[in-house]
């Protein structure tokens, strides 16, 4: 099975819907894998590691029930196979406290959820361009 390009953890089905549409619009070859809570995310990620299909980019919603985005981030950073995978925190909050905590826990970037579809498209486009091209260059 092909490794997902983007692994997205999001409990809000609306945003999952927006993300699916936006990613398809940016590039229909991009593979998106979604987990709707922390538990599901962690077991999915474990399976992906076992199958040696580690995702290229991980997007984490910050506020999730039970296991938060930061908990998942910590889990990811403890697994050697995923040390180099870029992780972006993706949240409605723009609180400096949340931003600081995410960076300290090892996030590569913190992105405030864009307001509206047009802005979302712009956001995903630039994320994709930066991380994937960057990723390719590194490899």
């Amino acid at each position: 099975m092909k490794a997902p390009d983007i692994f997205y953890v999001e409990d809000d089905p609306d945003y999952v819907f927006f993300m699916e549409n936006a990613i398809q619009e940016i590039g229909d070859n991009l593979v998106l894998r979604v987990a709707s809570d922390g538990q599901e995310a962690i077991s999915s990620l474990k399976r992906l590691i076992d199958e040696k299909t580690v995702p290229k980019l991980i997007l984490l919603d910050l506020n999730l029930p039970n296991i938060s985005g930061l908990d998942i981030l910590r889990f990811i950073r403890e697994i050697p196979a995923m040390k180099t995978v870029p992780v972006l925190l993706f949240s409605t909050s723009d609180s400096p406290k949340d931003v600081r905590a995410s960076i300290e826990f090892g996030a590569n970037a913190y992105v405030t959820k864009p307001d509206g579809y047009e802005k979302l498209l712009q956001c995903i486009d630039s994320v994709q361009k930066f991380w994937f091209n960057h990723h390719l260059r590194v490899n």
Binding site: D12, D14, T92, K113, D115, G116, Y117, E118
Partner: protein, 737 residues
């Protein structure tokens, strides 16, 4: 014989216990305790016994005994004395009835410093003493209060001993005395209420009054009998019944017109409380048993005095205490401390016997009862604040210490003050008026001195007992321990109350603070939670527009309105978030260079508001002390408003200028815009309030609320001046510190 001459300088030292003489209505013989040899005899013994007095001193007691047995076979003086010496008291023997020349006599023995004194005095059997004393005691004790007790005591004593006048005389604190009860023959002038100077009864006389509870002067006009002695040491007559009277006192009584005097000591708490002073205007002799009866009444009266005085003191204390308790109850009920202490039936005045009181609390003066004027009280309080070492101060002679008090001594010659808070000058002051400015003295209390034979000023007792009025100035009734105790307990109650109320206010404050913080958190959270669904709405709307090409024009318009609506909502939410951030954020104080900051802000605003034609003039820009980010918010909001509301002016302009004035730096931001109706002055800074004339200009009504909040958190001020259609000038003032 004493050679002592009393004069002004030694009057208190006249040795009245060794006069060398006795009163002549009886005779006396002194005997050495060890040898029973006669040491002294009164020179008129020949009037009763056939003996040459000069031969007696040095003779054994048996000589006297032989003389006496000729009259009375049963008498053995020697045995009597030995019995007394054995028992170490003559109380059981006294008086020993004997017969001399067919007349009844009492022999009274006393021992003093190794000498036994035998005194012989007539017995008059006219009184049924025991019966009288019993009846009198019950009549006396029937009196309900102290005054009634004293009055009935005077009546009963007069009934028993039959003197023309019986007075009860009380020693006051400074030693002078006052007649506080009197029973007299109807034709006599009353001495009731008269005051007698302390020198009327000198110190050594008082000491004797404590040792001998009765004292009889039978006839001031009789000649004393001298004591013939064979010893150097003068005979000490301290315990003698017949002891001769000081010539000064004799003269004193004569001047008063008194022929015979009898006194009974009143002792309370081991102190000479007073005397029952009995005067007769003709010579009068009462015998030993009558005197003992009177003494017994005096003792009964003394113990009743102790008891009644304590009872009355206790009543007063109870009254003070109940007043304090009432006040405590009022304090618990009333919100206002001043009302609680001054407006009810019982006020703080009732905690003492004062006639008025002042309460200085929270910068107001409340006066109750008889008090000086408010301005006088304020001046007095200022003086007290400076001079009170302790929390309580009292004086009964205020005008002597504090000159201005002379002006209001009729109301406050005595004060009792009690601090509530020295820092705040809060205190309670009680006032007692100048005590009856008049004292009725029995004659001029200054004993006139007369030149003696050698030109020395010699004491002579005053001659006139016409009541003599002296004005005692600047003095009130004294403050008692009970009053001070009551005041201190009231102070505790008041301070506890103040502390309770302060705690209540502090608690309220803390609750308010908590509520405020909660509101901040709430607005922060709610804005946050609102954001997500609004974003969804907008995103769906935009997706609809983007993906459904079949939509007609009117549907597209509607969807666009949805997008605009969410845009506006988001803006509002951001503003509310900003406001709550201002409340939550910590202030980091620095000195902020305002020139560059204002320049940046002006540029940003021009760009953001697309107001290229706006003139922003920046004058002086003194630095401000504050939180850089917050200061920047203040200026962007006010300058932003200036630009926004002047945009319709053909030559829009905003002028910014700062001045340093009196510990503050004040910036003015003036525009030439549409202006604000000043009748809505207060609403300008309220959240979500927008003026009527700005309906077509974008805004949320949050900006100035943020400005106000920031300025308040900096302990600064913000205000504005405006004229509709001409422009508005906002001012912000920050402390320089």
């Amino acid at each position: 014989m004493s050679t002592f001459q009393a004069d002004l300088t030694n009057c208190d030292r006249e040795p009245i216990q060794i006069p060398g003489k006795i009163q002549s209505h009886g005779f006396a013989v002194a005997v050495a305790q060890k040898t029973l040899i006669i040491t002294a005899v009164s020179d008129h013994i020949g009037s009763w016994l056939p003996v040459d007095p000069d031969t007696l001193p040095g003779s054994p007691l048996s000589v006297l005994e032989n003389l006496l047995t000729k009259h009375d076979d049963n008498l053995s003086v020697t045995q009597l004395l030995q019995l007394g010496l054995q028992r170490q008291s003559f109380d059981a023997i006294n008086p020993h009835a004997i017969t001399l020349a067919g007349a009844s006599f009492y022999l009274i023995c006393s021992l003093n410093k190794g000498t036994i004194l035998l005194e012989f005095e007539p017995a008059s059997l006219e009184y049924d003493i025991q019966g009288s004393v019993g009846r009198s005691a019950s009549a006396m004790l029937g009196g309900k209060n102290l005054q009634a007790l004293l009055h009935s005591a005077a009546t009963e004593i007069k009934r028993i001993i039959g003197y023309d006048r019986v007075m009860i005389y009380k020693f006051l604190e400074d030693g002078h005395g006052e007649v506080i009860a009197e029973e007299k023959e109807a034709h006599l002038d009353s001495f009731y209420g008269l005051h007698y100077p302390a020198s009327d009864i000198p110190k050594q006389a008082r000491a004797l009054y404590k040792l001998n509870l009765t004292r009889l002067i039978a006839d001031v006009h009789s000649q004393d009998a001298a004591l013939l002695a064979n010893t150097e040491e003068p005979l000490d007559l301290t315990f003698a019944q017949l002891r001769a009277v000081s010539p000064i006192h004799i003269q004193y009584l004569k001047n008063m017109g008194v022929a015979s005097s009898f006194s009974i000591s009143l002792i309370a708490h081991d102190q000479l409380w007073g005397l029952v002073a009995c005067h007769n205007y003709s010579p009068k002799y009462i015998d030993y048993k009558a005197r003992e009866g009177a003494k017994l009444l005096g003792q009964i009266l003394s113990s009743a005095l102790e008891y009644r005085q304590e009872e009355e003191d206790a009543d007063k204390v109870a009254a003070f205490k109940s007043s304090a308790a009432m006040l405590a109850a009022y304090l618990a009920k009333d919100k206002n401390l001043v009302d609680a202490l001054t407006s009810h039936e019982r006020t703080l005045v009732n905690c003492t016997e004062a006639h008025g009181a002042a309460l200085l609390f929270e910068n107001t003066v409340t006066l109750v009862g008889q008090t000086p004027a408010e301005t006088e009280v304020l001046a007095l309080a200022a003086w007290l604040k400076q001079n009170m070492g302790d929390s309580v101060y009292h004086t009964h002679q205020l005008p002597e210490i504090y000159r201005p008090a002379s002006a209001f001594k009729e109301k406050a010659a005595g004060i009792l003050s009690c601090l509530i808070s020295r820092e705040l000058s809060e205190m309670m002051i009680w006032f007692k008026p100048e005590r009856i400015s008049l004292v009725q003295w029995a004659g001029n209390p200054e004993k006139p001195a007369e030149p003696g034979p050698e030109g020395l000023m010699q004491l002579s007792p005053r001659k006139s007992f016409e009541s003599w009025t002296q004005e005692v100035r600047n003095t009130s009734e004294r403050w008692t321990q009970e009053e001070i105790t009551a005041v201190l307990s009231l102070r505790e109650i008041v301070i506890a109350d103040i502390n309770n109320k302060a705690t209540a206010i502090r608690t309220l404050n803390e609750k308010l603070q908590a509520a405020y913080e909660e509101l901040d958190t709430f607005s922060y959270t709610i804005s946050h939670d609102l954001r997500t669904p609004i974003t969804s709405i907008r995103t769906y709307a935009e997706m609809l527009l983007k993906t459904n090409f079949g939509l007609n024009e009117s549907s597209r318009k509607m969807i666009n309105r949805i997008v605009a609506g969410t845009e506006k909502m988001n803006f509002l939410i951001r503003e509310v978030l900003n406001l709550s951030k201002v409340g939550r954020a910590e202030i980091v104080m620095t000195d902020v260079e305002m020139g560059p900051l204002i320049g940046e802000i002006a540029q940003e605003i021009k760009t953001a508001m697309k107001a290229a034609d706006e003139t922003i003039e920046v004058g002086a820009t003194p630095p401000l002390r504050g939180d850089r980010t917050m200061l920047s918010q203040v200026f962007s909001n006010i300058i932003g408003n200036g630009v926004k509301y002047s945009s319709k002016n053909p030559a829009p302009r905003v002028k910014i200028n700062g001045v340093v004035a009196g510990g503050e730096t004040v910036y003015s931001i003036a525009d030439n815009g549409i202006g604000i109706d000043v009748s809505y002055y207060d609403r300008v800074f309220e959240l979500f309030k927008r003026m009527d004339n700005v309906a077509d200009i974008d805004g949320t009504g949050v900006g100035l609320a943020i400005v106000k909040r920031i300025v308040e958190r900096h302990q600064g001020r913000v205000w504005f001046e405006s004229k509709l259609g001409t422009g508005t000038t906002f001012f912000v003032a920050f402390r320089n510190r």
